[in-house]
Amino acid sequence: MAFPVNQLRNDFPILSTQVHGKPLVYFDNGATTQKPRQVIDRLVQYYETENSNVHRGAHHLSNLATVSFEGARNFIAQYINAQRTEEVIFTRGTTDSINLVASSFHSFIQKGDEVLITAMEHHSNLVPWQQLCKNKEAHLCVIQVLEDGMLDMPVARKMLSPKVKILAFTHISNVLGTINPVKELVAEAHRYNIPVLIDGAQAIAHVQVDVQELDCEFYAFSAHKAYGPMGTGVLYGKSEWLNKLPPCQFGGEMIDQVSFDKTVFNKLPYKFEAGTPNVADVLGMETALRYLDTLGIKNIQQYEDGLLEHATSSLLKIPGIKIIGRAKQKTAVISFIVEGIHPYDLGTLLDQMGIAVRTGNHCAQPLVESLGLNGTIRVSFGLYNTLSEVDYFIDSLKRAINMLL
Protein backbone atom coordinates (compact mmCIF):
# COMPACT_ATOMS: atom_id res chain seq x y z
CA MET A 1 0.00 0.00 0.00
CA ALA A 2 1.34 3.41 -0.90
CA PHE A 3 1.92 5.79 1.97
CA PRO A 4 -1.23 7.98 2.12
CA VAL A 5 0.64 11.27 2.22
CA ASN A 6 -1.94 13.38 0.40
CA GLN A 7 -4.66 12.21 2.71
CA LEU A 8 -2.73 12.74 5.89
CA ARG A 9 -1.56 16.19 4.86
CA ASN A 10 -5.16 17.22 5.48
CA ASP A 11 -4.60 16.39 9.14
CA PHE A 12 -2.09 19.24 9.45
CA PRO A 13 -3.85 22.61 9.30
CA ILE A 14 -0.65 24.65 9.03
CA LEU A 15 0.32 22.94 5.78
CA SER A 16 -2.36 24.84 3.93
CA THR A 17 -1.07 28.25 5.03
CA GLN A 18 0.95 30.51 2.78
CA VAL A 19 4.34 32.09 3.31
CA HIS A 20 5.15 35.26 1.37
CA GLY A 21 2.28 34.34 -0.91
CA LYS A 22 3.63 30.85 -1.61
CA PRO A 23 2.37 27.54 -0.20
CA LEU A 24 4.37 26.59 2.86
CA VAL A 25 7.00 23.89 2.29
CA TYR A 26 8.13 22.93 5.76
CA PHE A 27 11.55 21.28 5.75
CA ASP A 28 12.57 22.24 9.27
CA ASN A 29 11.22 19.14 11.00
CA GLY A 30 14.48 18.59 12.83
CA ALA A 31 13.85 21.78 14.78
CA THR A 32 10.20 21.07 15.46
CA THR A 33 7.36 19.28 13.70
CA GLN A 34 3.89 20.49 12.80
CA LYS A 35 0.88 19.12 14.67
CA PRO A 36 -2.01 17.09 13.32
CA ARG A 37 -5.57 18.13 14.01
CA GLN A 38 -5.87 15.13 16.34
CA VAL A 39 -3.22 16.51 18.67
CA ILE A 40 -4.65 20.04 18.64
CA ASP A 41 -8.14 18.63 19.26
CA ARG A 42 -6.86 16.62 22.20
CA LEU A 43 -5.60 19.78 23.89
CA VAL A 44 -8.92 21.50 23.27
CA GLN A 45 -10.90 18.56 24.54
CA TYR A 46 -8.80 18.38 27.66
CA TYR A 47 -9.25 22.03 28.51
CA GLU A 48 -12.95 21.99 27.63
CA THR A 49 -13.94 18.87 29.53
CA GLU A 50 -11.27 17.38 31.78
CA ASN A 51 -8.93 20.08 33.06
CA SER A 52 -7.82 19.62 36.64
CA ASN A 53 -4.78 19.09 38.77
CA VAL A 54 -4.01 15.37 38.91
CA HIS A 55 -3.59 12.99 41.83
CA ARG A 56 -4.53 15.59 44.34
CA GLY A 57 -8.25 16.10 44.45
CA ALA A 58 -10.91 13.62 45.38
CA HIS A 59 -13.25 15.13 42.81
CA HIS A 60 -14.51 14.03 39.44
CA LEU A 61 -12.41 16.26 37.15
CA SER A 62 -9.29 15.43 39.08
CA ASN A 63 -10.11 11.77 38.60
CA LEU A 64 -10.64 12.21 34.88
CA ALA A 65 -7.36 14.07 34.52
CA THR A 66 -5.49 11.53 36.61
CA VAL A 67 -6.85 8.57 34.66
CA SER A 68 -6.02 10.23 31.34
CA PHE A 69 -2.59 11.28 32.50
CA GLU A 70 -1.59 7.88 33.82
CA GLY A 71 -3.18 6.28 30.76
CA ALA A 72 -0.84 8.36 28.62
CA ARG A 73 2.12 7.18 30.66
CA ASN A 74 0.97 3.64 30.17
CA PHE A 75 0.61 4.00 26.41
CA ILE A 76 3.96 5.73 26.02
CA ALA A 77 5.66 3.03 28.09
CA GLN A 78 4.21 0.46 25.72
CA TYR A 79 5.12 2.50 22.68
CA ILE A 80 8.82 2.50 23.55
CA ASN A 81 8.50 -0.99 25.03
CA ALA A 82 9.55 -0.07 28.54
CA GLN A 83 9.38 -2.95 30.96
CA ARG A 84 7.47 -0.93 33.54
CA THR A 85 5.13 2.02 33.28
CA GLU A 86 6.92 3.89 36.07
CA GLU A 87 10.08 3.95 33.98
CA VAL A 88 8.50 6.75 31.95
CA ILE A 89 9.16 10.14 33.58
CA PHE A 90 7.49 13.19 32.10
CA THR A 91 9.86 16.11 31.63
CA ARG A 92 9.83 19.34 29.66
CA GLY A 93 11.70 17.72 26.78
CA THR A 94 14.99 16.17 25.75
CA THR A 95 17.13 18.93 27.23
CA ASP A 96 15.31 18.68 30.53
CA SER A 97 15.58 14.89 30.54
CA ILE A 98 19.33 14.94 29.94
CA ASN A 99 19.89 17.67 32.52
CA LEU A 100 17.90 15.66 35.04
CA VAL A 101 20.22 12.68 34.64
CA ALA A 102 23.36 14.83 34.57
CA SER A 103 22.32 16.67 37.75
CA SER A 104 21.38 13.51 39.55
CA PHE A 105 24.64 11.94 38.47
CA HIS A 106 26.64 14.38 40.57
CA SER A 107 26.77 11.86 43.38
CA PHE A 108 28.12 9.15 41.05
CA ILE A 109 31.08 11.07 39.67
CA GLN A 110 34.41 11.50 41.41
CA LYS A 111 37.48 13.51 40.58
CA GLY A 112 39.38 11.88 37.72
CA ASP A 113 36.40 9.89 36.42
CA GLU A 114 35.46 10.06 32.76
CA VAL A 115 32.24 10.92 30.98
CA LEU A 116 32.16 9.78 27.37
CA ILE A 117 30.21 11.54 24.63
CA THR A 118 30.65 11.89 20.88
CA ALA A 119 31.70 14.77 18.68
CA MET A 120 28.28 14.87 17.02
CA GLU A 121 26.27 15.78 20.12
CA HIS A 122 23.71 18.54 20.24
CA HIS A 123 24.61 21.17 22.86
CA SER A 124 21.90 19.67 25.06
CA ASN A 125 23.81 16.41 25.30
CA LEU A 126 27.19 18.07 25.62
CA VAL A 127 27.08 21.06 27.93
CA PRO A 128 25.29 19.29 30.85
CA TRP A 129 28.11 16.71 30.88
CA GLN A 130 30.79 19.30 30.37
CA GLN A 131 29.54 21.30 33.36
CA LEU A 132 29.23 18.15 35.46
CA CYS A 133 32.85 17.28 34.66
CA LYS A 134 33.93 20.82 35.42
CA ASN A 135 32.24 20.72 38.84
CA LYS A 136 33.65 17.33 39.69
CA GLU A 137 37.10 17.68 38.11
CA ALA A 138 36.23 14.75 35.89
CA HIS A 139 37.21 14.36 32.24
CA LEU A 140 34.89 14.82 29.31
CA CYS A 141 36.09 12.44 26.60
CA VAL A 142 34.86 12.72 23.06
CA ILE A 143 34.49 9.97 20.45
CA GLN A 144 35.41 11.48 17.10
CA VAL A 145 33.31 11.48 13.96
CA LEU A 146 34.76 10.23 10.69
CA GLU A 147 34.66 12.14 7.44
CA ASP A 148 31.51 10.37 6.24
CA GLY A 149 29.63 11.30 9.43
CA MET A 150 29.90 7.97 11.24
CA LEU A 151 31.37 7.37 14.67
CA ASP A 152 34.92 6.07 14.82
CA MET A 153 33.93 2.72 16.33
CA PRO A 154 37.37 1.17 16.83
CA VAL A 155 38.44 4.26 18.74
CA ALA A 156 35.15 4.31 20.62
CA ARG A 157 35.79 0.78 21.84
CA LYS A 158 39.21 1.75 23.08
CA MET A 159 37.84 4.71 24.98
CA LEU A 160 35.57 2.49 27.06
CA SER A 161 37.09 1.56 30.39
CA PRO A 162 36.10 1.23 34.03
CA LYS A 163 36.98 4.90 34.46
CA VAL A 164 34.02 5.85 32.31
CA LYS A 165 31.03 6.51 34.56
CA ILE A 166 28.48 7.20 31.87
CA LEU A 167 28.33 7.11 28.07
CA ALA A 168 25.92 9.60 26.49
CA PHE A 169 25.33 9.87 22.78
CA THR A 170 22.71 10.63 20.23
CA HIS A 171 20.61 8.01 18.52
CA ILE A 172 20.51 10.13 15.36
CA SER A 173 22.58 13.20 14.54
CA ASN A 174 20.51 16.33 14.03
CA VAL A 175 23.13 17.71 11.64
CA LEU A 176 24.32 14.65 9.72
CA GLY A 177 21.30 12.37 9.90
CA THR A 178 23.58 9.51 10.93
CA ILE A 179 21.82 6.65 12.74
CA ASN A 180 24.34 5.49 15.31
CA PRO A 181 24.86 1.79 16.12
CA VAL A 182 23.17 2.16 19.49
CA LYS A 183 22.74 -1.52 20.31
CA GLU A 184 26.34 -2.30 19.55
CA LEU A 185 27.76 0.60 21.55
CA VAL A 186 25.46 -0.11 24.50
CA ALA A 187 26.60 -3.73 24.55
CA GLU A 188 30.25 -2.64 24.48
CA ALA A 189 29.66 -0.20 27.32
CA HIS A 190 27.92 -2.85 29.38
CA ARG A 191 31.07 -4.96 29.29
CA TYR A 192 32.42 -2.38 31.73
CA ASN A 193 29.05 -1.87 33.47
CA ILE A 194 28.88 1.63 32.08
CA PRO A 195 25.34 3.03 32.02
CA VAL A 196 24.31 4.58 28.71
CA LEU A 197 22.08 7.55 27.99
CA ILE A 198 20.67 7.92 24.49
CA ASP A 199 19.52 11.29 23.15
CA GLY A 200 16.50 10.25 21.11
CA ALA A 201 15.36 13.74 20.08
CA GLN A 202 15.84 13.05 16.37
CA ALA A 203 14.84 9.40 16.52
CA ILE A 204 11.41 9.19 18.08
CA ALA A 205 9.52 10.45 15.01
CA HIS A 206 11.53 8.54 12.45
CA VAL A 207 12.60 5.10 13.60
CA GLN A 208 11.31 2.44 15.92
CA VAL A 209 12.43 2.97 19.50
CA ASP A 210 12.48 -0.17 21.63
CA VAL A 211 14.30 0.59 24.84
CA GLN A 212 14.52 -3.03 25.88
CA GLU A 213 16.08 -3.99 22.61
CA LEU A 214 18.52 -1.08 22.74
CA ASP A 215 19.12 -2.01 26.37
CA CYS A 216 20.17 1.53 27.27
CA GLU A 217 19.81 2.77 30.83
CA PHE A 218 18.27 6.13 29.81
CA TYR A 219 16.48 7.40 26.73
CA ALA A 220 15.38 11.02 26.25
CA PHE A 221 13.02 12.61 23.74
CA SER A 222 10.75 15.62 23.16
CA ALA A 223 7.10 15.53 22.13
CA HIS A 224 7.40 18.55 19.87
CA LYS A 225 9.79 16.77 17.51
CA ALA A 226 7.32 13.91 17.09
CA TYR A 227 4.18 15.81 16.05
CA GLY A 228 3.22 16.43 19.68
CA PRO A 229 2.90 19.70 21.58
CA MET A 230 5.73 21.81 22.90
CA GLY A 231 6.43 21.76 26.61
CA THR A 232 6.78 18.08 27.33
CA GLY A 233 8.90 15.03 26.70
CA VAL A 234 10.11 11.85 28.30
CA LEU A 235 12.97 10.50 30.27
CA TYR A 236 12.91 6.74 30.14
CA GLY A 237 15.15 5.09 32.70
CA LYS A 238 15.60 1.53 33.88
CA SER A 239 13.88 1.40 37.24
CA GLU A 240 16.97 0.15 39.06
CA TRP A 241 18.78 3.30 37.92
CA LEU A 242 15.91 5.67 38.54
CA ASN A 243 15.57 4.26 42.01
CA LYS A 244 19.24 4.87 42.65
CA LEU A 245 19.37 8.46 41.40
CA PRO A 246 18.41 11.25 43.79
CA PRO A 247 15.75 13.69 42.57
CA CYS A 248 16.98 17.13 41.61
CA GLN A 249 13.77 19.16 41.73
CA PHE A 250 11.55 19.29 44.77
CA GLY A 251 7.90 20.08 45.44
CA GLY A 252 4.41 18.73 44.79
CA GLU A 253 3.66 15.06 44.20
CA MET A 254 7.30 14.01 44.36
CA ILE A 255 7.04 14.23 48.13
CA ASP A 256 5.63 11.51 50.29
CA GLN A 257 6.20 12.85 53.80
CA VAL A 258 7.69 16.13 54.84
CA SER A 259 8.54 17.97 58.02
CA PHE A 260 10.81 20.97 58.40
CA ASP A 261 13.65 18.60 59.21
CA LYS A 262 13.27 15.93 56.64
CA THR A 263 11.59 14.79 53.45
CA VAL A 264 10.71 11.29 52.29
CA PHE A 265 10.40 11.23 48.52
CA ASN A 266 7.61 9.50 46.67
CA LYS A 267 8.20 6.40 44.60
CA LEU A 268 8.71 6.22 40.84
CA PRO A 269 7.69 7.86 38.58
CA TYR A 270 6.52 10.72 40.83
CA LYS A 271 9.90 11.11 42.53
CA PHE A 272 11.19 12.95 39.45
CA GLU A 273 8.06 14.95 38.65
CA ALA A 274 8.10 18.04 40.84
CA GLY A 275 5.28 20.56 40.56
CA THR A 276 1.97 20.41 38.76
CA PRO A 277 2.48 18.20 35.72
CA ASN A 278 1.77 19.42 32.23
CA VAL A 279 -1.27 17.19 31.76
CA ALA A 280 -2.61 18.76 28.56
CA ASP A 281 0.63 18.47 26.65
CA VAL A 282 1.28 14.95 27.93
CA LEU A 283 -2.10 13.92 26.52
CA GLY A 284 -1.16 15.66 23.28
CA MET A 285 2.08 13.68 23.22
CA GLU A 286 0.16 10.45 23.70
CA THR A 287 -2.13 11.37 20.81
CA ALA A 288 0.86 12.15 18.59
CA LEU A 289 2.52 8.81 19.32
CA ARG A 290 -0.78 7.03 18.70
CA TYR A 291 -0.93 8.85 15.38
CA LEU A 292 2.52 7.51 14.49
CA ASP A 293 1.51 4.09 15.70
CA THR A 294 -1.54 4.02 13.45
CA LEU A 295 0.53 4.96 10.41
CA GLY A 296 3.23 2.52 11.45
CA ILE A 297 6.70 3.85 12.16
CA LYS A 298 8.25 1.45 9.66
CA ASN A 299 6.00 2.75 6.90
CA ILE A 300 6.93 6.27 7.85
CA GLN A 301 10.62 5.45 7.80
CA GLN A 302 10.35 3.79 4.43
CA TYR A 303 8.46 6.75 3.02
CA GLU A 304 10.93 9.27 4.42
CA ASP A 305 13.81 7.21 3.04
CA GLY A 306 12.28 7.72 -0.38
CA LEU A 307 12.30 11.49 0.16
CA LEU A 308 15.89 11.32 1.34
CA GLU A 309 17.08 9.38 -1.70
CA HIS A 310 15.29 11.61 -4.14
CA ALA A 311 16.54 14.79 -2.50
CA THR A 312 20.09 13.51 -2.17
CA SER A 313 20.42 12.47 -5.78
CA SER A 314 18.81 15.70 -7.01
CA LEU A 315 21.09 17.83 -4.85
CA LEU A 316 24.19 16.05 -6.03
CA LYS A 317 23.37 17.07 -9.60
CA ILE A 318 23.72 20.75 -8.69
CA PRO A 319 27.27 21.99 -9.22
CA GLY A 320 29.05 23.32 -6.18
CA ILE A 321 26.91 21.46 -3.65
CA LYS A 322 28.52 19.41 -0.94
CA ILE A 323 26.46 17.18 1.31
CA ILE A 324 27.75 16.97 4.86
CA GLY A 325 27.11 13.52 6.33
CA ARG A 326 27.06 10.49 4.05
CA ALA A 327 26.60 7.71 6.58
CA LYS A 328 25.16 4.46 5.29
CA GLN A 329 22.43 4.50 7.93
CA LYS A 330 20.70 7.86 7.75
CA THR A 331 17.34 9.41 8.44
CA ALA A 332 15.78 12.07 6.27
CA VAL A 333 18.11 14.90 7.27
CA ILE A 334 20.44 16.54 4.75
CA SER A 335 23.00 19.16 5.64
CA PHE A 336 24.76 20.81 2.75
CA ILE A 337 26.75 23.81 1.69
CA VAL A 338 27.10 25.54 -1.64
CA GLU A 339 30.56 26.69 -2.55
CA GLY A 340 30.95 30.45 -2.34
CA ILE A 341 27.52 31.05 -0.84
CA HIS A 342 26.68 31.83 2.76
CA PRO A 343 23.99 29.45 4.12
CA TYR A 344 22.11 32.38 5.59
CA ASP A 345 21.65 33.99 2.17
CA LEU A 346 20.29 30.78 0.74
CA GLY A 347 17.96 30.31 3.69
CA THR A 348 16.61 33.80 3.22
CA LEU A 349 15.85 33.34 -0.47
CA LEU A 350 14.34 29.88 0.03
CA ASP A 351 12.11 31.41 2.68
CA GLN A 352 10.94 34.02 0.16
CA MET A 353 9.85 31.09 -1.99
CA GLY A 354 7.90 29.55 0.89
CA ILE A 355 10.46 26.95 1.92
CA ALA A 356 11.43 26.66 5.58
CA VAL A 357 14.94 25.27 6.06
CA ARG A 358 17.40 25.81 8.83
CA THR A 359 20.79 27.43 8.54
CA GLY A 360 23.60 27.79 11.01
CA ASN A 361 25.33 25.39 13.36
CA HIS A 362 22.15 23.62 14.52
CA CYS A 363 23.18 23.77 18.17
CA ALA A 364 26.11 21.49 17.37
CA GLN A 365 28.82 24.12 17.14
CA PRO A 366 31.78 21.85 17.94
CA LEU A 367 30.74 19.40 15.24
CA VAL A 368 30.20 22.04 12.59
CA GLU A 369 33.47 23.75 13.44
CA SER A 370 35.38 20.48 13.44
CA LEU A 371 34.14 19.99 9.87
CA GLY A 372 35.74 23.34 9.03
CA LEU A 373 32.39 25.01 8.39
CA ASN A 374 30.71 28.08 9.77
CA GLY A 375 27.27 26.64 9.18
CA THR A 376 25.23 24.48 6.84
CA ILE A 377 21.81 24.51 5.26
CA ARG A 378 19.73 21.71 6.66
CA VAL A 379 16.60 20.21 5.19
CA SER A 380 14.88 17.70 7.44
CA PHE A 381 11.77 15.87 6.32
CA GLY A 382 8.65 14.78 8.11
CA LEU A 383 5.93 12.31 7.24
CA TYR A 384 3.85 14.97 5.46
CA ASN A 385 6.53 16.07 3.00
CA THR A 386 6.21 15.01 -0.62
CA LEU A 387 8.38 14.27 -3.61
CA SER A 388 6.92 17.24 -5.43
CA GLU A 389 7.87 19.49 -2.53
CA VAL A 390 11.40 18.16 -2.92
CA ASP A 391 11.30 19.00 -6.64
CA TYR A 392 10.03 22.50 -5.91
CA PHE A 393 12.80 22.90 -3.36
CA ILE A 394 15.45 21.80 -5.87
CA ASP A 395 14.16 24.29 -8.46
CA SER A 396 14.01 27.06 -5.89
CA LEU A 397 17.48 26.26 -4.70
CA LYS A 398 18.83 26.53 -8.24
CA ARG A 399 17.12 29.89 -8.67
CA ALA A 400 18.59 31.12 -5.39
CA ILE A 401 22.06 29.94 -6.29
CA ASN A 402 21.83 31.76 -9.61
CA MET A 403 20.88 34.95 -7.86
CA LEU A 404 23.67 34.69 -5.35
CA LEU A 405 26.60 33.59 -7.47
Binding site: I341, D345, D351, M353, G375, M403
Partner: protein, 142 residues
Protein backbone atom coordinates in the same frame (compact mmCIF):
# COMPACT_ATOMS: atom_id res chain seq x y z
CA UNK B 1 21.73 65.43 -1.15
CA UNK B 2 20.59 65.35 2.44
CA UNK B 3 20.20 62.07 4.30
CA UNK B 4 16.49 62.48 3.97
CA UNK B 5 16.64 62.93 0.22
CA UNK B 6 18.92 59.96 -0.24
CA UNK B 7 16.66 57.83 1.91
CA UNK B 8 13.67 58.94 -0.13
CA UNK B 9 15.49 57.92 -3.31
CA UNK B 10 16.17 54.45 -1.87
CA UNK B 11 12.56 54.04 -0.83
CA UNK B 12 11.45 54.90 -4.35
CA UNK B 13 13.89 52.47 -5.90
CA UNK B 14 12.49 49.75 -3.67
CA UNK B 15 8.92 50.56 -4.54
CA UNK B 16 9.73 49.93 -8.18
CA UNK B 17 9.85 46.20 -7.51
CA UNK B 18 6.54 44.46 -6.88
CA UNK B 19 8.07 41.22 -5.89
CA UNK B 20 10.25 40.69 -2.86
CA UNK B 21 12.40 38.29 -4.83
CA UNK B 22 13.28 41.27 -7.05
CA UNK B 23 13.98 43.44 -4.03
CA UNK B 24 16.30 40.74 -2.76
CA UNK B 25 17.96 40.50 -6.17
CA UNK B 26 18.55 44.24 -5.95
CA UNK B 27 19.98 43.94 -2.43
CA UNK B 28 22.27 41.18 -3.67
CA UNK B 29 23.52 43.40 -6.48
CA UNK B 30 24.13 46.20 -3.99
CA UNK B 31 25.95 43.71 -1.79
CA UNK B 32 28.17 42.54 -4.60
CA UNK B 33 28.98 46.16 -5.56
CA UNK B 34 29.86 47.28 -2.04
CA UNK B 35 33.41 48.59 -2.12
CA UNK B 36 35.31 46.13 -0.07
CA UNK B 37 36.57 47.28 3.28
CA UNK B 38 40.31 47.56 3.71
CA UNK B 39 41.34 44.15 5.01
CA UNK B 40 43.21 45.69 7.96
CA UNK B 41 39.77 46.66 9.34
CA UNK B 42 38.26 43.16 9.10
CA UNK B 43 39.12 42.49 12.71
CA UNK B 44 37.04 41.49 15.70
CA UNK B 45 37.18 45.10 16.76
CA UNK B 46 35.09 46.05 13.79
CA UNK B 47 32.75 43.08 14.05
CA UNK B 48 29.11 43.74 14.81
CA UNK B 49 27.43 41.09 16.88
CA UNK B 50 23.80 40.06 16.65
CA UNK B 51 23.84 38.53 13.17
CA UNK B 52 23.96 34.91 11.99
CA UNK B 53 26.30 36.37 9.41
CA UNK B 54 29.24 38.57 10.33
CA UNK B 55 29.47 42.29 9.57
CA UNK B 56 32.54 44.49 9.77
CA UNK B 57 32.06 48.23 9.81
CA UNK B 58 34.73 50.89 9.67
CA UNK B 59 34.40 54.69 9.85
CA UNK B 60 36.84 57.46 8.92
CA UNK B 61 36.58 61.20 9.08
CA UNK B 62 37.18 63.15 5.91
CA UNK B 63 36.83 66.91 6.14
CA UNK B 64 34.26 66.85 8.92
CA UNK B 65 32.23 64.08 7.31
CA UNK B 66 32.16 60.41 8.15
CA UNK B 67 32.91 57.83 5.48
CA UNK B 68 31.80 54.28 6.22
CA UNK B 69 33.15 51.12 4.66
CA UNK B 70 31.87 47.64 5.47
CA UNK B 71 31.84 43.99 4.58
CA UNK B 72 29.91 40.85 5.45
CA UNK B 73 30.33 37.17 4.73
CA UNK B 74 26.68 37.01 3.61
CA UNK B 75 25.83 38.96 0.51
CA UNK B 76 22.26 39.96 1.45
CA UNK B 77 23.56 41.34 4.70
CA UNK B 78 26.16 43.16 2.67
CA UNK B 79 23.41 44.62 0.53
CA UNK B 80 21.59 45.91 3.58
CA UNK B 81 24.68 47.47 5.07
CA UNK B 82 25.49 48.93 1.68
CA UNK B 83 22.10 50.65 1.65
CA UNK B 84 22.74 52.16 5.05
CA UNK B 85 26.19 53.33 4.05
CA UNK B 86 24.97 54.87 0.82
CA UNK B 87 22.51 56.94 2.78
CA UNK B 88 24.65 57.82 5.79
CA UNK B 89 28.18 58.05 4.47
CA UNK B 90 29.59 61.49 3.69
CA UNK B 91 27.60 63.29 6.32
CA UNK B 92 28.59 65.13 9.44
CA UNK B 93 28.21 63.43 12.82
CA UNK B 94 25.44 65.86 13.64
CA UNK B 95 23.46 64.98 10.52
CA UNK B 96 23.83 61.28 11.20
CA UNK B 97 22.75 61.60 14.81
CA UNK B 98 19.68 63.54 13.76
CA UNK B 99 18.78 61.14 10.97
CA UNK B 100 15.32 59.62 10.90
CA UNK B 101 15.49 55.87 10.32
CA UNK B 102 11.81 55.43 9.60
CA UNK B 103 12.68 55.03 5.91
CA UNK B 104 13.53 51.42 6.79
CA UNK B 105 9.90 50.90 7.63
CA UNK B 106 8.81 52.42 4.34
CA UNK B 107 11.02 49.95 2.53
CA UNK B 108 9.36 47.24 4.57
CA UNK B 109 12.76 45.85 5.38
CA UNK B 110 12.42 45.53 9.12
CA UNK B 111 9.12 43.78 8.86
CA UNK B 112 10.48 41.46 6.20
CA UNK B 113 13.67 40.56 7.95
CA UNK B 114 14.01 37.72 10.37
CA UNK B 115 14.37 38.79 13.99
CA UNK B 116 18.01 37.72 13.86
CA UNK B 117 18.51 39.97 10.86
CA UNK B 118 16.42 42.76 12.32
CA UNK B 119 18.63 42.57 15.40
CA UNK B 120 21.59 42.69 13.10
CA UNK B 121 20.20 45.77 11.41
CA UNK B 122 19.55 47.40 14.76
CA UNK B 123 23.13 46.63 15.79
CA UNK B 124 24.45 48.18 12.59
CA UNK B 125 22.47 51.36 13.15
CA UNK B 126 23.61 51.50 16.73
CA UNK B 127 27.20 51.09 15.65
CA UNK B 128 26.86 53.84 13.04
CA UNK B 129 25.45 56.16 15.68
CA UNK B 130 28.24 55.25 18.09
CA UNK B 131 30.83 56.20 15.52
CA UNK B 132 29.03 59.48 14.86
CA UNK B 133 28.94 60.28 18.55
CA UNK B 134 32.62 59.45 18.97
CA UNK B 135 33.61 61.75 16.11
CA UNK B 136 31.36 64.49 17.44
CA UNK B 137 32.96 64.27 20.86
CA UNK B 138 36.41 64.38 19.33
CA UNK B 139 35.67 67.48 17.22
CA UNK B 140 34.02 69.24 20.16
CA UNK B 141 37.20 68.72 22.17
CA UNK B 142 39.39 70.29 19.51
Amino acid sequence: MTIKEKAQAVVEEFWMFDDWMDKYAYLIELGKDLPVIDSQFKTNNHLISGCQSRVWLHAEEQEGQIVFTADSDAVITKGIVSLLIRILSNHTPKEILEADFSFLESIGLQEHLSPTRANGLASMIKQIQLYARAFQLKSNQL
